[in-house]
């Protein structure tokens, strides 16, 4: 299988297998596809007007438009598919002292909230993008890596996001990518346009946790670009920023953290939101198979708000 349709379709097929066989173990062989089957999965968060999750929905409660064409939801799952989380921390400025400790605590608490079948991996980036730990359920190496993180240099945020979105994850697992960053970028080779197109082809959900209102400073080591040409969120509300649009494209969001910096609570919220999503399965019908497909997900309940990826790319 080779092609840009694979991320969504492969995941859909795997989920279909789970649905058919119950909670299939992760080590099951990857499913195959019948020719012409355009199976698609969509994660959808459904909340009421107060922001609380709406549970107990069935496939019949959902409406899905694929390129504007109504589709039949074949099935759904809720909270049963194992999760792979990639936590990416921006260490281009000084995440030392209290902030580093808060991050360490937030990530380790996040790991304790994971279910036995869930996993987490840690990525650090400044201008260099490095995977510090592979997928693991062991808190210790993650904790140690954050403790010893060295900050400095420029920032290749867009490159890091692109790498995190492209990086492989087994298709039978849901994938969440969480970036802790101030949104600065000075060293990326990836343009915004390119990253948007990459996001359309990604199967992961991308969420940004962004410190707001704090002093961001840099230290010059002679190699990295100081933050004078950086692209920062500035006065734009995070959700309305370009990053907000990028995150929404994947079904994710931007969560600002204020001066109080309750990082633990914020990370926990990210996980809970992701976990509380419905995974919808449908087979695209009545649409051209290739190219970019827009997706619109609705719920037949008054006041229900749906957060889902906006589309997918198929060959």
């Amino acid at each position: 299988m080779k092609g840009s349709r694979r991320p969504v379709i492969a995941c859909a097929a795997a989920l279909a297998a789970i649905l058919v066989h119950g909670n299939a173990p992760a080590q099951d062989p990857p499913p195959t596809f019948r020719s012409g089957a355009a199976a698609v999965t969509v994660d959808a968060n459904v909340r009421n007007a107060r922001g609380g999750p709406i549970t107990g929905l069935t496939a019949a409660d959902f409406e899905i438009l694929d390129n504007g064409v109504p589709q039949r939801v074949d099935d759904l799952s809720y909270g049963r598919v194992p999760i792979d989380i990639t936590v990416a921390l921006d260490v281009s400025y000084s995440v030392t002292g209290q902030l580093l400790e808060q991050l360490r605590r937030a990530v380790t608490e996040l790991m304790r909230d994971l279910r036995p079948e869930d996993r987490l991996r840690l990525m650090l980036f400044n201008m260099r993008v490095s995977r510090v730990t592979g997928y693991t359920t062991d808190v210790k190496p993650v904790e140690q890596a954050i403790k010893t993180a060295a900050a400095g240099g420029g920032t290749a945020l867009l490159d890091a996001v692109s790498v995190a979105l492209v990086d492989a994850s087994p298709p039978d697992r849901r994938q969440l990518v969480v970036f802790f960053t101030d949104g600065s970028d000075s060293s990326s080779v990836t343009s915004r346009d390119t990253l948007s197109r990459v996001a359309q082809r990604a199967r992961a959900t991308l969420t940004f946790v962004m410190p707001g209102g704090q002093q961001v400073f840099t230290s010059f080591s002679g190699v990295g670009a100081p933050m004078t040409t950086v692209r920062r969120i500035g006065a734009v509300p995070p959700q309305q920023s370009w990053f907000g649009g990028l995150a929404r494209e994947t079904g994710g969001s931007v969560l600002p953290v204020g001066d109080g910096m309750d990082l633990t609570g914020t990370f926990r919220r990210v996980l809970n939101d992701f976990r509380s999503a419905y995974v919808l399965y449908y087979t695209a019908r009545g649409v051209e198979p290739g190219g970019y497909h827009t997706i619109e997900v609705r719920v037949k309940r008054d006041g229900a708000q749906v957060q889902a990826r906006r589309g997918y790319f198929a060959r």
Binding site: P7, M123, R131, V166, S188, R201, F220, A225, P226, T229
Partner: protein
């Protein structure tokens, strides 16, 4: 004032010599011309001749010596056989009134020096040492003190420029003499000075206090040639002497014009200084012009046949100037020559031996820098908690190396580096103000020189790296005013213009200056020069790509220009990839990124760009493999793309190293 300044220098140098033994606490310092409380011993060279021939066999009782008019008891007399330190001062300056004339090659000037050096060293003993100093616009130490057989001239010498005669002679005379050696200075000169800070009366004062035997040899043939040339220029070419150039503050002559070569008042002052040391000014005798070899031979013979009198001053105040008078009452026919006096500095308090100063303080940094601990200083400055405070102290404290303004200018650059990158505007402004001040101070009075060129380059590489193009603009303008065709400065101007085009999506780009030129025009200007053509075209290509002119961009990148700089080769392929991707030629773009990766195998940027391209082409496996490689890359090598926007910052360390080398004694 000049005389005072020069004397202050002499005094301080003598004070250093005088106090050195105390600070070092040596076991038993050998006899020397230093003055310790109560037991100061003075040595005096005395030449006694009768009808030009040395008088041998004299004893202490034959001499009468007074110190400030008070007769002293001569403790010891010996015929001297101590080793000699010989300083040869060669005048290689040209005729400043005829700068349009073809100058002779450096090899020719060096050959003339070599002949005189050979002539002199043939007379030296193995235990003697010789050094060679040349007079031109600068005081050039051609050969440091070396044994006679090991004196080697450098491959080049600056010559045929203006003359810093007085400064060079002062520097030669101020050499501190080792106690067991004697110092002889023989200078051969046309007597013309144009650019010295030290004037003739100050030089006389320096000579009187110097512990050296000082001989001056007049280059009368050269003087006559100069005079004849000037006459020809005035009568036949309308270029009448003095042909002063505006930057020449004055011209001073030691010797008058005409056939008799009468001494000017300046010449008389310097001759008096030479005589005060026991030396002389040597003129043509009948038709025989003096040479260095013959002059030294005479001085050497004087030395070999002279007496060294030793006495401990008594009955006179210790500090201040001591006039010495030596006579040999036994015969009126004797000609007695001896130094006329010596100076004792006011005793300074004993400074206890201190621990090495902390590099947290300016004093500590200055001290370490003076010792050549550049790496330590740079590290300390980059980690300084209050770089602004160091700048302020430096501003207020004056030059820590009064005799080395260039070292101060390089140190100022070191100090300015960290504040130049500060996020605090006040700190950056102080750094810029310091650099602006030194940009004025380093200006060579006559014409831009190599040091100034390198200093400006180091400043520009630094400021390009701060990514504040508007702040750096004034510096590049100043550099180009001094060096209008320097390719690296032209490229710097283009880079700054390019930096101004970098837009933050939310904040916009910094407003350009009113007279800002387009980066395109500036890059094309820099591309006219072979040294900067490749980089200028690559940067122009990337600029055109960002401007949406992909065909023009590809043309510039392909035109390129020959280079073996792997960074430039890498960037060229990386940008070709971007341009080809924008032209929807994805396969070619991927190939360009692969080529870039082959040049810099650890490159993250090329790998990520290739990853994105493959993903957008539908090759997910290929993209995933590259994503894995990006995160697993263990090389700590710098991706050239990461410093692309910082212009020529990559040269900054080398530029600073070159400057440090230039100011290292």
């Amino acid at each position: 004032v000049r005389a005072l300044a020069a004397l202050a220098i002499v005094a301080s140098s003598l004070a250093i010599v005088a106090h050195e033994p105390r600070a070092q606490q040596p076991p038993a310092p050998p006899p020397q011309q230093t003055f310790r409380t109560g037991t100061d011993v003075v040595f005096v060279d005395v030449s006694v001749r009768e009808n030009g021939k040395p008088v041998p066999g004299l004893t202490p009782d034959d001499f009468v010596l007074t110190d400030n008019g008070v007769r002293q008891r001569i403790e010891h007399v010996e015929a001297t056989a101590v080793p000699i330190d010989l300083t040869l001062v060669m005048d290689v300056s040209g005729n400043p009134s005829s700068p349009w004339m073809t100058t002779k090659p450096a090899a020719q000037a060096l050959a003339a020096i070599q002949r005189e050096l050979d002539d002199v060293t043939a007379q030296l003993r193995p235990e003697d040492r010789v050094r060679v100093i040349a007079i031109d616009r600068y005081t050039q130490l051609l050969v440091p003190f070396s044994p006679p057989g090991a004196a080697r001239l450098p491959k080049t010498v600056e010559h045929d420029g203006l003359s810093a005669l007085h400064d060079t002679l002062a520097a030669a005379l101020m050499h501190p003499v080792e106690p067991s050696r004697r110092h002889v200075v023989v200078a051969r000169t046309k007597g013309l000075d144009t650019v010295s800070a030290v004037d003739a009366s100050a030089l006389r004062g320096i000579a009187e206090q110097a512990d050296a035997l000082f001989h001056i040899v007049m280059m009368e043939s050269a003087m006559d040639a100069d005079m004849a040339l000037r006459g020809f220029q005035c009568q036949n070419m309308g270029l009448c002497f003095p042909t002063r150039r505006f930057w020449v503050p004055h011209q001073r002559r030691l010797f008058g014009g005409g056939l008799s070569h009468l001494l000017t008042p300046d010449g008389e002052a310097v001759a008096a200084g030479a005589e005060a040391t026991g030396g002389a000014l040597h003129k043509t005798q009948v038709i025989l012009e003096p040479t260095m070899g013959r002059t030294f031979r005479r001085a050497f013979e004087d030395f070999r046949s002279s007496y060294v009198l030793r006495y401990t001053p008594t009955g006179v105040p210790r500090a201040g100037w001591h006039t010495i008078d030596v006579r040999v009452p036994g015969s009126r026919r004797y000609t007695v020559r001896a130094r006329r006096g010596y100076g004792v500095d006011v005793e300074a308090p004993v400074v206890p031996t201190a621990k090495p100063a902390s590099l947290d303080t300016l004093a500590g940094l200055v001290s370490a820098y003076g010792e050549g601990r550049y790496r330590d200083v740079v590290d300390a400055l980059r980690g300084a908690k209050q770089p602004d405070r160091l700048l302020r102290e430096f501003d207020e404290g004056g030059n820590p190396w009064p005799a080395e303004p260039r070292r101060e200018a390089v140190f100022a650059l070191e100090l300015a580096e960290t504040p130049a990158f500060s996020r605090t505007a006040a700190e950056r402004e102080r750094a810029h103000a310091l650099l602006q001040r030194f940009a004025q101070l380093i200006r060579h009075p006559l014409e831009p020189d190599g040091f100034e060129l390198r200093w400006h380059f180091a400043v520009l590489t630094l400021l390009e790296g701060t990514l504040r193009p508007n702040d750096a603009e004034a510096f590049v303008s100043r550099a180009l005013a001094r060096f209008p065709n320097e390719p690296r400065f032209l490229l710097s101007k283009a880079i700054l213009a390019d930096q101004r085009t970098v837009r933050s999506p939310e904040r916009g780009a910094p407003p350009p200056p009113a007279d800002a030129q387009s980066p395109e025009a500036l890059f094309l200007e820099a591309a006219k020069h072979p040294p900067t053509e490749p980089e200028a075209r690559i940067r122009l290509g990337f600029w055109l790509h960002r401007a949406g002119r992909q065909a023009d961009a590809l043309s510039q990148l392909d035109a390129g220009g020959a280079t073996r700089d792997s960074m430039l080769l890498y960037l060229r392929e990386l940008f070709r990839g971007h341009v080809l991707a924008a032209l929807e030629r994805q396969d070619e773009a991927a190939d360009a990124y692969r080529t870039a990766l082959s040049i810099v195998p650890a490159s993250q940027a090329a790998r990520v760009a290739l990853m994105n391209t493959l993903l957008l082409q539908g090759d997910r496996e290929g993209a995933e493999a590259l994503a894995e490689q990006v995160q697993a890359e263990s090389s700590r090598d710098l991706d050239p793309w990461w410093v692309y926007w910082q212009g020529q910052l990559r040269f900054q360390q080398a530029a600073m190293a070159a400057l440090r080398q230039m100011v290292t004694p």
